[in-house]
């Protein structure tokens, strides 16, 4: 068998974009997800375009409007440890620290974390599932204990990222460069639900590269956190997770963003929770009401019904913690 395979490491973003123009060319950033997928033949690859030779995609700096710019090639470990992020965007630092294992955090990049492929074991395994061009989703009547309870249709993956919920809660914007130039996409518009297109996870077009992640300035009243419940304490994805970004004033929630991980095929904004807590003090009844409301639209499959009380319990715990720091 002959496999056409090449590996290039361009020295400019423009070159990288043009290298990505050929068939089955894929971006190689940290590689922690990509190489596993190639080994397991989850999807074909004929060319890997390494972006490791593009130093402009690295680093964390303040923007002129006092926000933050994080280069897409910045490692997860750097994000987790960065003083500015720990100080003003705690949920992101906590989310990054909850990713995988120390080795993977040292190698994996923030851009890659947002673009990673689903961890559904049917998608990753020897199953010709819908997302891979097959005829059906094996999870529907299968081993769906880790699958989604919200936002599923035809396909029931959960989005695996621990950093995306925090970034979405902070209103992050992605800068993307491609063959037709550069564009900005809010993170809220970046991920794709299966009902829209079951074969893709993001809106990235062929040849497009996420170059940086921009965070708006953090208000002084902002309190944020990320909580992750998992079956194993390292190298494991969220069974349930939540990023909270609340602006608190006089004991009341002035503004809130609540984003769930482990719940849906994309980072999932729990608008029902936001509605209930915004404008309220985080009293026990409010918290309870919010936790219950978070799951009103949940539709569990055969083996993931536990996620409903789990999300409710986790949300209640996290909102109570937030009340204590407010």
């Amino acid at each position: 068998m002959t496999v056409h395979f090449s590996y290039v490491r361009p020295a400019s973003l423009q070159d990288a974009v043009s290298q990505l123009g050929s068939d089955n060319a894929l971006i190689h950033a940290g590689g922690t997800d990509l190489l596993g997928c190639l080994r397991d033949e989850v999807f074909p690859a004929e060319k890997l375009v390494s972006i490791s030779g593009l130093p402009e995609l690295r680093g964390i700096s303040k923007t002129t409007d006092n926000g933050l710019r994080i280069g897409a090639l910045t490692t997860i470990a750097e994000v987790a440890a960065h003083p500015l992020i720990r100080e003003s965007y705690a949920a992101l630092a906590q989310g990054a620290a909850a990713v995988a294992s120390p080795q993977l955090r040292n190698q994996g990049t923030l851009g890659g974390n947002l673009c990673q492929k689903p961890r559904c074991w049917y998608y990753r395994g020897e199953f010709h599932c819908l997302r891979k061009g097959g005829n059906y989703c094996y999870a529907v009547n299968g081993e769906n204990q880790y699958h989604c309870i919200l936002g599923g249709k035809n396909c029931f993956i959960v989005h695996p990222s621990d950093t995306a919920p925090a970034l979405l809660a902070f209103g992050a914007v992605l800068r993307i460069t491609g063959p037709r130039g550069s564009r900005s996409v809010t993170l809220a518009d970046f991920h794709v639900l299966p009902e829209r297109d079951v074969t893709r996870e993001t809106v990235l077009e062929a040849g497009e590269i996420v170059t940086e992640i921009l965070l708006p300035p953090a208000s002084a009243a902002m309190r944020s956190s990320y909580r992750k419940v998992r079956a194993r304490q390292a190298w494991d994805f969220a069974l349930a997770g939540v990023a909270l970004a609340l602006e608190l004033e006089g004991g009341r929630v002035r503004r809130s963003r609540v984003v769930l991980s482990g719940a849906a095929p994309i980072p999932w904004r729990a608008v029902e929770v936001e509605k209930i807590i915004t404008g309220s003090a985080l009293e026990s009844e409010v918290i309870h009401e919010a936790a219950v409301a978070a799951m009103t639209k949940a539709r569990p499959l055969g083996k993931n019904g536990y996620k409903i009380p789990l999300f409710q319990g986790m949300l209640a715990e996290e909102l109570e913690k937030m009340r204590q720091v407010s």
Binding site: M1, F127, E143, P309
Partner: protein
Amino acid sequence: MKDDEQDLYFVEGIAVPQTPLPGEEPANWGKTAVIGRRQTRVDAYERVSGTAVYPSDVVLPNMLYGALLRCPHAHARVKKVDASAAERMEGVQAVLTGASLGRQVKWPYNEEVATDLFDDRCRFEGEAVAAVAAATPYVARDALREIKVEYEVLPFVADERRSLATGAARIHGAGNRLKADSYKRGDVARGFAEADIVLEEQYRTACEIQAPMELHGCVANWEGDSLTVWESTQGVYAVQAKIADILGLPLSRVRVIGHYMGGGFGSKLQPGKYTVCAALLAKKTGRPVKIFLSREETLLAAGNRPPATMTIKAGVKKDGTLTALQFTGLASSGAYPAGGISLLDWLVRDLYLCANVQSELTDVAINAGPARPFRAPGHPQCAWALEQMMDALAEAAGLDPIDLRLKNIPLVSQGREGAPPYTTTGLAECIRQGAEAFGWREARRRTAAGRKEQGHLRRGVGMGSCLWVVGGGGPPSTVIVKLFADGSVNLNMGASDIGTGTKTVMAMVLAEELGVRPASIQIEHADTGSTQYATPSGGSKTVPTESPAVRSAAIAVKQQLLQMAAGELGSPVENLRYGGEYIEAVDSGKKVKVTGIAALKKQGVVVGIGYRGPNPEGKVVNPFAAQFCEVEVNTRTGEVRIMRFLGAHESGRVMDRLTFDNQVFGGITMGIGLAMTETRILDENRTGKMVNCNWHDYKLPTALDVPTDMVSLPVELRDSEANSTGAKGLGEPVTIPTAAAIANAIYDAVGVRVRQSPADPLTMKRLLAEEAPEVRS
């Protein structure tokens, strides 16, 4: 004794043990100079630096790389294999298929069942269908993809609880029932009638996979008609026997070497089909062939702890006297008989004093990889059921769990014919000393008080106890010790060191007897060509089996040296004392350096041969244990954090305190895996395939899942009868009660019984919602 000292001898002020006269039995050791210390591994540097050559490191000139094509279906018939494209590939040197082998090579799944090596019926995902040898491992894997196989996919059964149901897929012509076993003593009906409390409950432990660090595999090389195999194994002689049998070779033509190996936990007590394939491919190509499996292959086809569904009905009087135990166990060996119910009821039969015991065991087939022995076969499963039941009985009787157990301590092995006594029975002492060191009663009071509070983080403490069915070791074992003219020592033994520190412990035995430093001893082991016959390292028997033989070989060396010195010192042997560097005549006070003995100089070496003597007649040598733990359960999320663990273990004499503690911590860690994270998940509705067949989704516990607060408490009862070193096995009891202790601690925390492992948030959240709605968020 300092390890960094270069001297051959060490002087501690503790005399080398007296040398018995020929024909006399050696006395038990008194105060020891080396045994019982914390001895760094004699091969630590080699292992850590990477200079140790494991079988997976072996590279021979002209070596080829082999790989096995495996059936991707849970159950299928191979209709056609077309390997022509693979055979034409550049770099491919040989392809083996069912057609090319014909029916000449059989693979014995056990004593009764053999199939063709590449059988046209594949009864589990991962069954071998063909094999290739190629210039590189990559070409070999590519070649597998070019072999076209036509399968007829057959119906499958993935769950042992459905194997016997009407309409279940038939795996074997005779049906899915593989084996049954039953046991009875007394009359359980009478026992239940005498009881004040009778409880019945069903439990299940999920299928767990050994997952050793080093993958399964070997390198095979022929020199003429003689085969040499470097195998990652727990027993070179066991591999030799099976390979010779399958290939129809005399034992003398099969040499198996396994100096280092990276873990097996029972799954490497035997060779694999890969071993046979490597030998056949090497024969066919005339070149050495290396086959190491991928992680996925080992998860599918290199053994597991069988899933077990168990029911216990138990009766107890109000004062805690057990009156009856009735046990039903349904377990699955996988696709072929492989010890699915092996020892599954042993703790019910033997752990607690009970006159009326009955058990029924059934082993059924499912379409999944065959089981292999897994660290204490049957025991952790049985403990999961029995120790939770003991906890429930104690609660029902209003007794502390340790008091219920202490009320029912046997001094004889009731499960054996004639109820022979144990040489020592440390069960009560493990429970008492362990509870004391753990602060059990205080902790129970604290957690009981905590339950009255409303917080969602609940603490609980739990314990479990156990024995291990064997662990006394026994013959045969032959060990050769050579003392060279310069006084340095060589130890030759067939046993494998499977990572437990066997080499270190044996060096310590020699050091104790000969007065030399453990690190100075050269060790040759685990090679059927150059070391003596040994049974595989399994069953927690290696130290109690080999250490008396090593001691006996050391004594044989000393006896010869004393004989040699007698002439030079002009005193009879019985007046001489071997002291390590010197031999002294106690009557005249004259001394001679061992290296100065003329006969030794002339002979160049003294060779001592030691044999393992018999175990005590009519007695049972078993290790005992009790483990205690504290957990914190988050009732809102179902998360369980293990806060601390204590293992109190009675395993006879502590030989090396460092390896002892390593075993305790390692066993607890593995038990945490059974309790908390590990489960093989088969796609039971649609394909029967293992969905978590990878290193991430099959969740071994990580360092963060194991508490930093772990205590190893040896309960060292002197066992003067077991054997001449007083050692008993440890490697398996350390993992038997762990999972059950965690389940009991969870119950103490939140009042929920985790009947099915693992107690991950999936299970916990479901149980908390169903069974303890008052502690819901």
